[in-house]
Symmetry: C2
Subunit: 300 residues, 2 copies
DNA sequence: ACGGACTGTCACGTAGAATCGGACAATGTC
DNA sequence: GACATTGTCCGATTCTACGTGACAGTCCGT
């Protein structure tokens, strides 16, 4: 007789993903249920919300209008459900995506603390360096390093990663230690390219407040941060690495920093999430925690 | 697993009335259900919303905070449920209260039209001249004639009733026809007093923009509009009647108007409802209809 | 043009939950 | 202190939402 909130949430998910199947996956429910829930919802409100061809789903104009309000209602309902939930009682699933090295070095080691405080939270941590589609894959939070393009997401700048120029001691012995960028003739660069695109291998640095760059020869191109560092340690050239990941290796003598006064511009670290300024509480908790965990390691 | 909207509505009603029994009555549900729903709600949100002594119910501070948001959520949910409901599909119960004569003369004769347009609406029409407690008795709309005191309700002025001075032809034959208030020596007033209070029987009129009054002798005091008119027709004195109810009797010769240039100040007609500016749709429909029905009969 | 894979829906037996009426203990009132 | 009233508990009953599996329709690539 009365509106069903679960059905409403199902509708919102389907409307966002434009797919019953994917919505069902993300909701952790069988397709049949989602289908039935939306059917019931349509019967209850007395309007057809989707036009279904067996192959594609589209919102009707009624559906569009309904979605706006349904979203808000679902959010407020979530708020109400959790307004008295202590941290121990907070439950739900939160799906996040992190760059591999940030995940392995910073986040995963401290995940136990988060679990201890919020035992009801089920965290799904995806680690990948490729650009994921936040809404399509249903992520609640994504940490991005570097410039970003998406604009429909809420972005919070956490800080930035200091970049250092590194090479192996072996490499320095062979190629010499440059003192200024002018000394780079004959040097080799390890090239990082996420998509093996056509970008030319360049070394960047900041000089007098300006970003300058110089094209260098390169032997190897990689597409993962781990391989990038490994190649540098192997003496395959100079690499511009985040200090965060390079520090240990410099300390332990596997890498040395070059041209310390000509570092590349720092990479911005950003926290993205698809919910507006007011996310569900379980998500907010994770966002805050991520910020707290990452902040000490990124210079503001 | 998810918040139950029916339970939420039950909670709101109980919180407003501070009684499970009365809430159950107004919701048209057995007490046991309301009790169980609220119990479930408390379990779901993880907090105790009421302090119950078997004799009295009070909101906890958590309950207070919850009520505010719960109200808003229930309202938005209602909005969502009815946003595509055609007039034929709109359903629900609306409880209104009207002065007896307005109900009998204007509203009830046209109730069939409302039903024809909104067959799903169940209207509960209470007719009474006493002042009802709008929230306590769960009215969705109340029409008041005359000055009003409540302020926590939303009030819409519909118009005002023209008042005329009437007497029976028999009375005029006996007592003479006054031309000005100064001629009223020896005349008799029929007195209306809702609560048989101590107000003195006075005849009021507007003269040069000022309200003036003159105390007169009276034989009978009544507390209902019908009895008031009946007393006047019976020749028991002059009565200050709304033209609306007196017109027919004047036309048919049972009453005559006296002192037409010294009429009493018109009585304001007001539509009250307890919902904020945004009432549920089924209520809004009735409010609009009442306004449309009453407007032509009340000069603005 | 046509197989193939994927989409959303349907069927139906089942399990769990909400519901109802009535009885009960507790409490404020006269 | 007796009474009336309040909110809750109890048991059987009814419903309805669910899951599994199979199905028909449609778009894609070749």
């Amino acid at each position: 007789m009365s509106l069903d909130l679960d059905a409403l949430r199902a509708f919102v998910k389907v409307a966002e993903l434009l797919s019953f199947t994917r919505a069902a996956e993300q909701l952790g429910a069988p397709k049949a249920r989602v289908s039935e829930q939306v059917r019931r919802l349509e019967r209850d409100v007395g309007s057809v919300l989707f036009t279904r061809t067996t192959r594609a789903v589209r919102l009707t104009s009624d559906g569009e209008a309904f979605l706006v309000r349904a979203r808000r209602l679902a959010l407020e309902a979530d708020e109400l459900e959790t307004m008295f939930a202590t941290s121990r009682a907070l439950r739900g699933r939160v799906r996040i995506d992190l760059p591999v090295n940030i995940a392995c070095d910073l986040v995963i080691p401290r995940l136990a603390e988060l679990h201890a405080e919020y035992p009801g939270l089920a965290l799904q941590v995806s680690t990948t360096d490729r650009i994921v589609d936040v809404v399509r894959e249903g992520f609640d939070a994504v940490v991005r390093v570097g410039a970003l393009r998406d604009s429909e997401l809420t972005a919070t700048r956490i800080g930035e990663l200091t970049m250092v120029n590194c090479a192996s001691p072996e490499y320095v012995r062979t190629h010499g230690r440059p003192r200024t960028p002018a000394d780079l003739d004959g040097h080799v660069l390890v090239h990082y390219s996420a998509a093996f695109g056509v970008e030319a291998p360049e070394l960047e640095w900041v000089e007098a407040g300006r970003v300058r760059s110089r094209r260098l020869h390169c032997i190897v191109t990689v597409n993962s941060a781990d391989a990038f560092r490994a190649a540098c340690i192997a003496g395959l050239g100079i690499a511009q690495l985040p200090w965060l990941g390079a520090e240990r290796h410099v300390r332990e003598g596997r890498l040395v920093e070059l041209l310390p006064r000509f570092r590349a511009p720092p990479l911005p670290v950003t926290l993205l999430h698809p919910h507006g300024r007011s996310a569900p509480r379980r998500v907010r908790v994770v966002l805050d925690w991520l910020t707290a965990v990452l902040s000490p390691h990124v210079t503001v």
